[in-house]
Amino acid sequence: MLRENGFGSGPTSGGKTNGAPVNGDPPIRIGVYVCHCGTNIARTVDVERVTEKAGELPGVTIARDYKYMCSDPGQELIKEDIEELGLNRIVVASCSPNLHEGTFRGATAAGGLNPFFFQMVNIREHASWVHEDRESATDKAIDLVRAAVRRVHHHKALETRRVPIKPEVLVVGGGIAGISAALTLADGGKHVYLIEREASIGGHMAQFDKTFPTLDCAACILTPKMTQVRNHPNITLMTMTEVVKVDGFVGSYEVTVKHRPRFIDVSLCVGCQQCIDACVYKRGKFEDEFDAGLSMRKPIYLPNAQAVPQVVLIDPEQCIQFSSGKCKQTCVEACDRDAIFFDQEERIETLDVGAIIMATGFQTFDARRSPHYGYGIYPNVYTALEVERLVNASGPTGGEIVLRDGEKPTAVGIVHCVGSRNQKSNPWCSKVCCMYSLKLAHLIKEKTDAEVYNFYIDMRTPGKGFEEFYQRVASEGTHLIRGKVASVYQQADGDGELLVDVEDTLAGMVRRIPVDMLVLAVGLEPRYDAEEVRRTFNITCSGDGWFMERHPKLAPVDTFTDGVYLAGCCQGPKDIPETVAQAGAAAGQALALIGRGYMELEPNTAQVIAEDCSGCKTCIPLCPYQAILHDDAENRAEINEVLCKGCGVCVAACPSGSIVQNLFEDTEIYEEIEGVLAYA
């Protein structure tokens, strides 16, 4: 009674069309198709009864059931009925729209109807799969079909939207992931902006000597790729650069980047390093980051021997010219290319790209967070990254494995799972530590002939050639001790000798093993700024802080933000082969997107009805996609259709009901509700 009478009843007052024409439109003729899905639906839902009931609903011209609606003959049925029976609305009761909405919209269109005159009912996931009682599952299916039939009366013809896609791609992070993705894209003829926060590309891989399981030299495979990046006509490399803002949307992102000053003109410097020799500091005084702090460098330095670009930089925190303003500037004098500029400033630039690949990698677990291993307390406790530098021919010791006092170790312990698989630090398995620990065991043994003890919890070597590598290292005489290290002590009088207490679970005893070097296999974790970065790019992180893929199996490199893809360890721990494979997949996705040339967008967008809007501004800050602007001159809200994702937030919030959303108009929703609730 209330709603028929008009006042305060608004949109649904005229709702019941009962198949009768709405203001002179042709009569509604609905076709309802109930799918058996083999026995998936038919086992629990009486599809014949659903079909029979559907046939009795107002506006329904024909109701059929069929074994597999998604099959060619099933789709053909829809098409033929539209042509022969003059249907103008289609309802298919089958599986999830996620699976086959596209299929049936296609069939509807093939019959000559606008595809949005179609409505899907999910009687599989919502009825047959979740119920056991046939009677009530069938009743529920009937209710759901009735809701769709009532809704579809009010559907309108809609057009999908097409927006052109810019062919440039931004790759964020110049580790092996970013490098691989950039090269694939550039070889595919797309222009790439590769931005790297540090002064050189290369990421973690550039720090390693050898790589498991093949023990090929990291530099030999990485450096050529780095140089290729530098020389590729389709790649614009920007180091010391970070993204500060991302505007726009898939196919048309506007990215604001910030270049930190290097105080060196990249186009003039040839990396001759005359300036470094000439610096007023006679010796290195500051910890070299690339050598994990194991060597010292000057305030003006080359990031590393293989750095790309081969260009020096000045650290303003350390350079005397910056602290006192009164340095003799011997470096400037020495530079015959006049490449040094103390007055360089931060620079902001905007880049227009169609797609973005995130390849920001990982950081290693800070071993100080597990103090019982003694890192930062005992000088002979090292992290794996430090040892990677020690074994590296271009590292601080020229590849000699020596302790801080210059002595060769005679017994070395390697502790697996540091910071990983532990509820107090990181619960996940970092995936690469067992393998790199075996690699380090092998390299240490090879170079020092020391006794090597690997303390592991479980030996995880699932990968091509991994198990074989493990067997090889085991046969070399490395002691593999299965057990958790309980504590590490330094001998009171023993020149820094360490005692490792460990429960040997295979031998069933507690052991105390003296070593003079302990290596901590620190795990991989999200970078400290991952949360901030994900906000900037409007992507999501999973609970553990890694960037989240759209689907763990079927969309492993996509994100929930269209046009933003993931490559490498920013998505979770992986080794180099996996990283490169994922980078290829991300580049492939970006190429597929760009190759299409345009984006086809769902027409489920919201619109402000300008003459109804009172300019109350309620909606403006709510849109998670910043799609709503306030037109100050007209005092109206305005939705950018291309940015709108159809989330409906503004529609629900608009206090005067002046925002409507395609496919979710009030009438459609209320009719659907009444359809479900109307017991027949």
Binding site: F7, G10, S656
Partner: protein, 325 residues
Amino acid sequence: MTKPEGKPKVAFYWCASCGGCEEAVVDLAEGILDVVGAVDIVMWPVALDFKRADIEAMPDGSILASFINGAIRTTEQEEMASLLRRKSQLVIAFGACSQLGGIPGLANLYDREGVYRAAYLESPSTENPEGTLPRLRSRENGYDLSLPGFYDTVRALGQVIDVDYAIPGCAPHPKVIQAAVATLLSGELPPKGTVLAPDQAVCEECPRRESKPLDLSISEFKRPHEVIIDEETCLLAQGLLCLGPATRAGCDAACVCGNMPCSGCSGPTSRVLDHGAKAISGIASLIGGDDEEAIDSVLDGIPDPVGTFYRYGLPASLLRRKTLS
């Protein structure tokens, strides 16, 4: 519509209302005189002495338009509404109570017994030692007396009889009444069911609109008596719960111009099914605070949500009333 002989006949009637709507008509002053001259008023209890029998004697459909204010809560009101419906070509729900149930509609949070208790027994100003309550029939000094029946539920006019148009407001703004009457007399009748007032929200007419920030986030609701209200800034921006964004315009933002927040008397726009729900949805989306606790503390500033968001429209809302036990 058939044109009856002579001047068109018009009726005014009042049901459960405060008299403010009558006042609003009288307040039209000269504005109404032309209209009054052009029509024949056949009923107007507040001003003219016509009786129910006079109306009953008229042929069906002989009144051009009946303007009925007030909600329906008694049998007599329902009978009169039905009678006028039969005799009139057009029935216009006049004012918030008639259109949506109005302030009397808040009685739908109780039942008849609860209302009687409050009105005749418990209210501080009541002196009723015998506990006398209204009865349908009683005998007094040898006379049989009767009273109309009193429903548990207050209803809007449209929930009782078929209504053609509504004029919103508590009471309707003179400008709205004049425009509505002009529309009715113009002969070009809008579609049945139309609310005869602008279909935008109050913000549209509000002189403070521009001062409303684009990223309003409310961290505390204040009630008008607790603060000195700035006369130029958007009231919501000052933490005052203004229903302007959710309420139909036409009043020239009268309350806001009087430095009081809009309380929603003109009901929703035509596009909104439930005024209170929509207002809650809109206001809630402005609330700052990241966690549940912070949000709850902001909400503590709205001590009477039903009385705030459903002040004028509980009966016509989707909620209608509290469940009767």
